[in-house]
Amino acid sequence: MRNLLAMYSVLLTGLFTTSSAWAERIMPAQGNAYASEVDSLYIFLLVASLISFILVIGGMMYFVLKYKRKSANDETPYISHDHKLEFLWSFIPFLIFMFVFAWGWKLFREARTMPKNAFEIHVTGQKWAWNFDYKSGVSVTSSSSEEAAFVIPVNKPIKLIMTSKDVLHSFFIPAFRIKQDVIPGRYTALWFEAEKEGEFQIFCTEYCGDLHSQMLAKVRVVSMEEFENWMQTHPSRALGQMTLAERGKYLTNKSACTACHNFESSEKKIGPGLKGLFGKERQFEDGSKAIANADYIMESIYEPQKKYVKGFGGVMMNKYLPKDLSAEQVSWIIEYIKSNK
């Protein structure tokens, strides 16, 4: 009995390791462990599907051939139902469905729970290119599939904070089995950790007009040293020479936010002081509350009259339109606010 169990478990693990390797033929190359976990689930679903298909269609073919009409007066038995059988074939699929639901949920949560110490990069989608802004101030745009402009370090959790300048787009990296829509007027996020060096394809998967199918990019995964070297010597850095937070500071002066706000102290001017704002709970005149995250700050800039901070009821802040401050620029200001802890 013991032996049997041992053999069985060896068989199972064997099956799983081979199945996950086999998966790379019907799925894209696996860029990390998460991808191979998704593939195991997929293989399970495929095998379960295949078995059900063989049972249903095999049964159908068997009956169809076995009970082929012999003459016009064939007699057929009157079989109206069978409660036991019907219960079984409702309950067994139900169990399988619940099992894959739970499995899918578990992996989904893994993919959706953002790690705390991730390396953050801002991504802005626009017709028909992807823009990547690093905190160091390096900014790259990828509008063709040829060169891999977007570079990240290996074995480091990467968090992409994404928004769009125009219409919906969707950021899809098959090798990491992740995808997220990119939406104008708000932020969405995505995280992954590349565990292999190399180049991986990025697609836009939300229809966005004429050149939707050319809205491609590639991510190049390199070692940490190579990454730092790339960042230090990147021409866009020499050009800007500023971190995102530095650019944000520059903009708060340029857009006259500083007329009404202190950014580096919490003392109020016409509007509240913004030091330490990021991540804090805010209270509003109407009694409601919210956490000051990136979406909240974006809303405060584009739609300042939507919520009045407690104690500032009726004090009007200017409304900024995306043409005054682009989504990309708002991201810089957010970085600036974040940096004033």
Binding site: Y42, L45, V56, W89, F108, V167, S170, P184
Partner: protein
């Protein structure tokens, strides 16, 4: 009511005007048939052109042209072919006959629904003269707000929606009020149950589409900010609205097709249906639950994680009644007397393809796998397996099944079987490779692709021509049957439902004397 010998609904009156003003459900059914088949032809031509472009990307069309063809293909096939296909076309013809009734409850409303469809379709086609629409059939905001032509297209869909609502309303009342004496709910044919469940969805869901489209139009024309972030709206809200209708609409498309399958399987296996009540209740169950799963189209849209989890869970629940139906159909064949006529081949083909569509549906309902497959060709393959492999196979089977009743003529059985052979094999050649394309990463709505996707795309295109030939053969069979077919008997297949007791073709008000029902619809072997 008595009738003159030799007279039937087709020859009782003549002239185009007598058709355009007819209140006879059978004639209205035939008018739907002509419209739906014409739309199907146009939508099919767009599909062929798209596959041609994808055979050698860049050789034929620009991105914008391709995107427009994709949009018209999708819009025509959903709003003008599949949605009216079974309920309005086949349902109109057979529902009163299946119930032993003279007509539907509101014949004038019935005619009006047809005009709604035609006016709506005409408005949609008008967009072709105003630069065309390239939003895809989903009209996602804010893209759809920023392009021209959307309003007209959306207005067309809005008007066509009323056709659907009115037909649904009419059918609900008909089923409640006009059943033949003795036909209680559990003596109704399963096609009636299916049409009834569909009608409920049509009446409840379609108004939501209408509201959505109105909001979209008012945003575009009046600048009211609802969906456009530039006006303070929320683009994701549109997706919620849209799928709140469009997911149930998927069942408007598939439920009545399932009804047809139950009819075909019993007749051609001369066997009573296995699990009548289970099938009937699963229709109603699917209709009810279908309203609570829309978010499974939006796992990566930016809706909350919790919403995604709930929608995935409920979607799994819809899987159960769907699986039950399939098992019941297969069990019906057990110890039957199975005859391979063309309608039966289409029914068996339906089960084959629908099963593949179903299991891949579960793969898409599972959260982690859907994140990878969403908006890739995997999804395209999945819904074509359900909508074409399912619904369209059922419609074609239904046409061949009721053709003798509709026109009083038979058709060439050999060529009808050939059409099945081409459609069925072509279908698998076209769409099976698309599962692999999608899994390996090819996104949908691409008019160009990376070189590694070339060979599977070319196989798929070759398959599409095979399907094309299959449907052309089917069309030939229909036309040839109409012109040259032998006279059909009352009951060519040995069916037991009431329509087979009427003449072929039926007289104006269907039955000489109102039939009285004493037994269930499939009492073979009793």
């Amino acid at each position: 009511m008595s009738s003159t010998p030799g007279k039937n609904y087709l020859n009782e009156k003549s002239g185009l005007w007598s058709w355009l003003t007819t209140l006879d459900h059978k004639r209205i059914g035939i008018m739907y048939m002509i419209s739906v088949l014409s739309f199907f032809f146009i939508g099919g031509v767009f599909a062929m052109l798209m596959r041609l472009e994808l055979f050698a990307p860049g050789a034929l069309f620009e991105g914008n042209t391709y995107n427009q063809m994709m949009t018209y293909h999708g819009t025509i096939m959903t709003f003008m072919v599949i949605i009216p296909g079974v309920p309005a076309f086949i349902g109109n013809f057979v529902l009163p006959l299946l119930l032993g009734a003279k007509d539907v409850a509101f014949p004038r409303v019935n005619l009006m629904s047809w005009y709604c469809l035609m006016v709506g379709a005409a408005i949609s086609f008008l967009t072709l003269f105003f630069g065309g629409v390239d939003t895809g059939w989903t009209f996602y905001t804010p893209y759809s707000i920023q392009t021209n032509g959307t309003v007209l297209m959306v207005l067309g869909a809005f008007v066509m929606g009323f056709s659907s609502i009115l037909t649904g309303l009419n059918f609900i009342v008909t089923v409640h009020k006009l059943r033949a004496p003795g036909m209680d709910f559990f003596k109704m044919p399963l096609m009636v149950w299916a049409l009834y469940s569909t009608a409920i969805i049509q009446v409840l869901a379609t108004p939501v589409l209408a509201i959505t489209l109105l909001l979209l139009a008012s945003e575009k024309l009046l600048g009211v900010g609802v969906f456009d972030p530039a006006l303070g709206g929320d683009p994701v809200l549109f997706q919620h609205f849209f799928w709140f209708y469009s997911h149930p609409a998927v069942y408007i498309m598939i439920l009545p097709a399932m009804g047809i399958i139950s009819e075909l399987l019993t007749t051609f296996s001369k066997k009573t249906i296995f699990g009548y009540r289970a099938i009937a209740f699963s229709s109603v169950g699917i209709a009810a639950v279908s309203f609570f799963v829309w978010g499974h189209h939006m796992f990566v849209s930016g809706q909350s994680e919790l919403a995604g989890v709930i929608f995935s869970f409920i979607t799994m629940l819809v899987g159960v009644p769907t699986a039950i139906k399939t098992f019941n159909w297969v069990a019906t064949l057990y110890k039957g007397s199975i005859e391979f006529r063309s309608p039966m081949l289409y029914a068996l083909g339906f089960i084959f393809l629908f099963t593949i569509g179903g299991v891949t549906g579960i793969i898409l309902a599972t959260l982690a796998t859907d994140v990878h497959f969403h908006d890739t060709y995997f999804v395209v393959a999945h819904f074509h397996y359900v909508m074409v492999g399912g619904t369209l196979m059922a419609i074609t089977g239904g046409i061949f099944y009721w053709f003798p009743k509709m026109f009083g003529k038979m058709y060439s059985e050999f060529w009808a079987q050939m059409s099945f052979l081409f459609v069925f094999s072509g279908f698998n050649i076209t769409f099976f490779p698309q599962f692999i394309l999608g899994a390996t990463g090819m996104p949908r709505r691409y008019h160009q692709y990376l070189p590694e996707f070339t060979s599977l795309n070319q196989i798929s295109s070759i398959g599409s021509w095979t399907i094309g030939i299959g449907f052309l053969i089917a069309l030939g069979v229909i036309i040839h049957g109409l012109l040259k077919g032998e006279k059909a008997p009352k009951n060519p297949w040995g069916g037991l439902t009431l329509e087979w007791t009427a003449d072929s073709p039926p007289i104006h008000e269907n039955f000489e004397t109102t039939p009285v029902v004493t037994a269930g619809p499939y009492e073979y072997g009793r």
